[in-house]
C-alpha cells in the first residue's frame, strides 16, 4: 500500500511537472518564461488533494455503511414473528387417557407436522403488501357486466354530447307553440314543501 502511494506520488509529481512544463494555452502565446513552481508548494498541493480524495472516499464508504445498516434494521423490523397458533393438544404433553390407539398418535403427529409447516409458511410468506381480498361470490360478475353495458348505453343516449333537454322544458315549449296555448308542464318546483315533509318526518 505504501509503495502504491509512493508510486502515486511520483506519478502525480511527474504529472505536475509535465503540467508545469506545458504552458497553458490561455496564459500566453509562448513569449513569457514559465512560472517558477517550488517543489514544496507542489508537494503541499498534492498532499492536500490526496487528503481530500481520501476523505471523500472515506465519507462515501461511511455513507454506504450507513445505508446498509439502515436496510438491515428495516429487514429486522419487518421480520415480525407471527403469534403462535393455539395448539389444542401438544403431542409432547401427556394425554389424560393412556389408552390411546396408535393411529391417533400418528394423526396427532401428522397434525403437528402440518401445523408446524403451516406456521413456517405463515411466518415465511407473511409480508405487508398492497392488496385487498374479495370474495368472488359476493361480486356478481354478470352484475358488473350488466352495469357496464347499461352505462355504455346511458352515456351514448343521455351522456354529454347528446342534445338533451328536460321533459318539462320540451313539453312546455310544445304547449306554448300550439295553436291553442296551454300552460307549461309542471310549474311546480319539486323542492316546495320539502321542509314541511322533513318536519313531518321528524
Amino acid at each position: 500500500m505504501v509503495r502504491r502511494r509512493r508510486k502515486q506520488e511520483e506519478e502525480e509529481e511527474k504529472e505536475e511537472e509535465e503540467v508545469a512544463a506545458v504552458p497553458s494555452p490561455a496564459a500566453s502565446d509562448g513569449e513569457d518564461a514559465p512560472e517558477e513552481l517550488s517543489f514544496g508548494a507542489a508537494a503541499a498541493a498534492a498532499e492536500s488533494e490526496r487528503q481530500l480524495a481520501g476523505e471523500a472516499a472515506r465519507r462515501h464508504r461511511e455513507l454506504l455503511k450507513e445505508k446498509r445498516r439502515r436496510r438491515q434494521e428495516l429487514f429486522v423490523e419487518q421480520k415480525v414473528t407471527p403469534p403462535s397458533p393455539p395448539i389444542p393438544s401438544h403431542p409432547s404433553h401427556p394425554q389424560p387417557g393412556h389408552k390411546q390407539p396408535g393411529s391417533k398418535s400418528e394423526k396427532q403427529s401428522e397434525g403437528r407436522v402440518l401445523k408446524q409447516v403451516k406456521q413456517d409458511k405463515a411466518r415465511g410468506a407473511r409480508s405487508k403488501g398492497n392488496y385487498t381480498a374479495m370474495h368472488l361470490k359476493d361480486q356478481s360478475l354478470t352484475g358488473l357486466h350488466q352495469q357496464t353495458a347499461k352505462d355504455f348505453v346511458y352515456s351514448h343516449l343521455y351522456g354529454p354530447g347528446t342534445n338533451r333537454t328536460s321533459a318539462n322544458e320540451f313539453f312546455s315549449l310544445a304547449n306554448k307553440k300550439d295553436p291553442v296555448k296551454k300552460a307549461a308542464v309542471q310549474f311546480v318546483d319539486k323542492s316546495w314543501g320539502k321542509c314541511k315533509k322533513k318536519k313531518k318526518k321528524k
Binding site: T142, H145, Q146, T148, A149, K150, F152, V153, Y154, H156, L157, Y158, G161, T162, N163, R164, T165, S166, A167, N168, F170, F171, L173, K177, V185, Q186
Partner: protein
Amino acid sequence: MGPLEVHRVRFFGLVPAGVRCLAYLPRRRRLALARTDGAVEVYGLEEGCFQEKAIPGHQARSVEALCWAAGERLFGAGLSGDITEYDLQRLRPARTVDGFGGPIWSMVANGGGTRLAIGCEDGSVKLFQVVPGGIQFEKNLDRQKGRVLCLSWHPSGTHIAAGSIDFIRVLDVRSGRTVQRIMVNYHVPKPKKRECVVWGIAFLSDGTVVSSDSFGRVQFWDWERGTLLESHTVSTSAVLSLAVSEKEDSIVVGTSTGATYQLQLLPVKAGSQEKRWVRTKPFQYHTHDVRAVAHSPTALISGGRGAHQAGWGGGVPLPDASSPRSAWLPGLDAQLVIRPLMEKVQRKGYEAVLRKFTFPHRRLVSCARKARLLLFQFSQHLELWRLGSTNETGKDGEVLPVCRMPEHLLQLKSKVGLGRGCGRGLGGLCRPRSAPPRPPQGPEHIYCSCVSPCGGWVAYSTASRFHLYRVQHEGDGVSVKKVPGVPKLLLPAYQLQCASDAGRLFVGSERGSVHVLQLLEPGGCKHLHTLRPPAGTAEAVYLLASSADGNWLAAVSGDWEIHVYSLKHFKHHCTVPTYSCAVTALAIHPATNNLVIAYADQQLFEFSIPEKQYTAWSRTVQNCGLHKAWLERDSPITHIAFNPQNPAHILLHDVYMFCVLDKSLPLPDASTPLLNQSTLKQLPEHARQRQLHAFKICKKFQPLLFAELLEENRLVLVERPLADIRAQLPPPVQQQPFGT
C-alpha cells in the same frame, strides 16, 4: 237514464314502460314486443290489434333482442347474458341458456328459423341451433375487440353482418372468419373524433349492407369491396333502429328525436332499370327515442321508449312474401304506433288508419262498488284509494266542487319472489344445457289483482306467490292483515275475480283451470274446487266473469274458448260457440244472467247462460250488423259493466270513448251517424225520440282506463292523460323549433 254524477279519476299514476324491441311474425301476423321492464307482449294484428298475451317483466330481466324462430317459438336475449325461450301458453320464461359472452346486445334468427346468432359484449358472435326442446350451442364465430351491437343474416344464411363501435364486419358462417371489415368512422376530422356507434344493420340479398349509426347517417356498403355506396344523413341525432321490408325495397329507421323515416328503392327515372335509395317519408309520432322499428308488408310499426333503456336493433323481417309490410316503430314514450303505408293499402278505410297503443289491453283497475274504493295495479305495487264525494248537484257539463278529497288508503308493495330450487349445473365447464330460469333478484312484477265489492279483501298474484289480504275499515283509516295459509295452487294466477257477495275468490290459472277459494270471515281462505274445461287446453285463463247470484262463472283461455261453469254443482255447464277472434271483455248481467262478450274485431254478442244459446237481441244485432263507425274503432273494449238501476243498459268502454248501450232502443242503421249525442241534445223532445238509437257514446273523457257504474247514478271514469305520462319520461332530444 237521468243525469250521472261522474267521478273523473286522474290520480292513477301509471307510466307504461317503453317499448324496447319488436319482432314480427309474418305467417301468423303476430307482433312480439318487449318492454324496458322486461315484459313481453304479443299482439295479433289480423283483426283489430289486440294484446293477446302478456308476460310480466321483472326487475332483473332486461330484453335487448327478441326474435321468432322455428315457427312460433319466441326467444329473447338481454344484458344478463341469457337466451330465454318464452312459453306463450303458460306465459312465463320457459328455459334459459347462458350465452357465456357477457351481456347479449342482439339476436337474430336466420331465414329458416333454424339457427340463432347472438352478438355479445366481448365482441364474439355465437351461433346456436334451434332444436325441439331448446337451443344448442353450435359454434363461436371470429371474435374481435368491441361489443357487437347489431347483427343481420344474409337471406341465404351464408354470411352475417355485425355492427360494432366504429366498424362493421362481415363474417362467413361456415368458416367462422371475418371476411370483411369496414371502418365507419372515417371522414370525421381528428379534433372532432367521436365514437361512431353502429346501432342498426341489415344485410340485403344483393350484398348491400345497410347501417345506421350514432351520427344520424344511414349508409349503404358493398360488403365484398368494402366501399361506401350511398350515405344519407337523416338526422342530427343518432339513428337507433333499422328495419327492412321483405321485398327489400323499403327501409324504416327510427331516430333519437322520435322521428322515423322511410327510405325506398325507387327507379331514377320513370321506367328505368337503375334504382336508388331515396329518403321518402318522415313521420313524427313519438316524442322520445324510437328504439325499435319493424316493417310489415303494409305498415311501419314503431315503439316508443320510456325511461331508462335504450333499445336498438331493427327487427329483421322474416322472409314471407304473403303479407304486405308495415313498419313498427317503438318509441320511448311507450307508444306502439302502426302506420300503414298508403301505397300498399287497397282502399281508404279502416286499414289505412294510424294506430297508437299506449295502454295495455288488460284491466289494471278494480273497483269495490259498495265501498267505493279503487284498486290500482302498478307493475310492482298496488294502491287502494277511496273516491271523493260531493254534496252538490248540478246540470249537464258542470264541474262540482269536491267536499271530501279522494284518499290514498293503502299501498302494497310486491315482495321479492321465492327462489325456485333449480340448479345451474357445472358452471362453465360443460356445454350449457337448457336450465329453468334462474330465480331473479328483486321484487316481482304483479300479474293480476282484485278487490272484493265490499272492500274487505285484496288479492294479487306474482310469478311465484299468491297474496291475500284482509282489509278492515275503521272509521277513516284502514288496517291490513295478511291472510296466512293460502292454499298452494299452481302459480302464477293469471286472472283474479271476486264474487259479488265477497264469499269466494276465483283464480284463473294455467291449462284453462279455475280455482275456487272460499274466503272465511276473520281472515282465512280455503280451496273449494278446481274447475277444468272438458277437452283440456294448454293455454292459460286470461279473463273471468262471475254472476251476481253466485251461480255461474265464465272463463276464457288463450285459445279463445269461453267455458261457463255452474258453481252450484261445480261442473262445466256449456261452451260458447267458437269465434275466430280473441275475446277482449266479458261480463254476466246481474238480473238476466246473460253473458255479454266483446271480441277483438269489435263484435258484440249476448249469450244466455241458462238457455245455452244466443239471445234474441244478439241475433238481431248480428243480422243487422253493427254500425261501420263502431267496427272501425282502434282500441278494443276492455271492460263491460251494467247499470243497477236499469237492466237494459250495458256500459262499455275502450280507450277513447265510453258507451251506454240501451237494448230497448232500436239499433242504428248505416245512414244514421253513430255519434249523435251532441245533436240529440239540441233537438226538441219529440224529434229526439225519432232519432234515438241504442248506442250512446261519449268521447269527452280520454284516454280511459276504466269505467264503472256505481249505485245512485254515479259513474267512475279513470283517465290517464298522455301529458302526465310524458312529463315523467326521461329527457328528450332538444329540438330547435322554427322561430325560437
